[in-house]
Symmetry: C2
Subunit: 168 residues, 2 copies
């Protein structure tokens, strides 16, 4: 007879459930800015170093180039991002933020910081630090690429058996 724990006693279930809710909440909090989380990821990428190509962006966030097109299209139509021709390789588009794009990126980052406080509202500062460290440990123990959200790369490695912890 297999033991049936209540679901709320399971780290895996809680991670999955809270992950969905956190993602949904973050989507909601960004809504007044007229962007969704993948747009935020794209803005962050461009803001981190302007002039890079869509290919590099696609590799960085782990989505197919065909999806990048739609994201950049939307941001360009809203005047947040510019595609400029790269003189040394005219196949590639160099990506830049507009002034408005920088403003929206900053606003989105402020909302993200605010949302982080809301998510952690039930915890003391010490508990919050402990939770952060434990979550980092869980992530690290499964050799997951940093700074990439699997919602942007569903083909990525799931949290699965066979994920050998990095040596050392």
């Amino acid at each position: 007879m297999v033991q049936e724990e209540p679901l709320e006693q399971s780290v895996g279930f809680l991670l999955s459930k809270l992950g969905f809710q956190t993602a949904a909440g973050f989507t909601a909090i960004l809504e007044p800015l007229g962007i969704v989380p993948p747009h935020f990821a794209v803005l962050r990428f461009i803001g981190g170093a302007e002039g890079r190509s869509q290919q590099v962006l696609a590799d960085a966030v782990g989505v197919p180039p065909s999806r990048i097109v739609a994201f950049v299209d939307a941001l360009e139509e809203r005047g947040l991002v510019e595609r400029r021709r790269n003189p040394s390789d005219r196949r590639a588009h160099a990506l830049y933020l507009t002034t408005e794009g920088r403003r929206i990126l900053d606003a989105a980052q402020a909302l993200a910081n605010q949302y982080e406080e809301e998510v952690c509202a039930g915890l003391s500062d010490g508990e919050r630090a402990v939770l952060l460290e434990l979550l980092q440990r869980v992530a690290q123990s499964h050799e997951i690429p940093m700074n990439v959200h699997p919602g942007m790369r569903m083909e990525g490695p799931p949290l699965r058996p066979g994920a050998t912890p990095p040596p050392g």
Copy 2:
């Protein structure tokens, strides 16, 4: 100037990311049984108390009745679940597990327990208990219905401002 933390320093980002990966990993681990997580939820519900209707199931897991039909169809075709007519209300279907359905439910529960170990493999027993408690606290601080996964009820309350903690 808004401060830009690395994403891995954010509880919200880590919850969202680990939640996606955990859900994907659990889907993968169930695959040999030929079921997906919502099927597991349905089997658990029926196994918990047989004879209840699809309506009650729909309310319990928080999905529209039209989706329940497809889930129960699939499980019935595989011979894991039976629909029986309820003599006292012939509109309703009373749901039962077959012997094979019970067997698959037990096997799935065993895999779920095993997966829980894998997710927590990088933690000591003490750390694991602390993580569980902190995740429960985060969930509780946002008055989230227990035992329901938002992946089954996307219309449900996201982790958002306005989610007043329960009084007391």
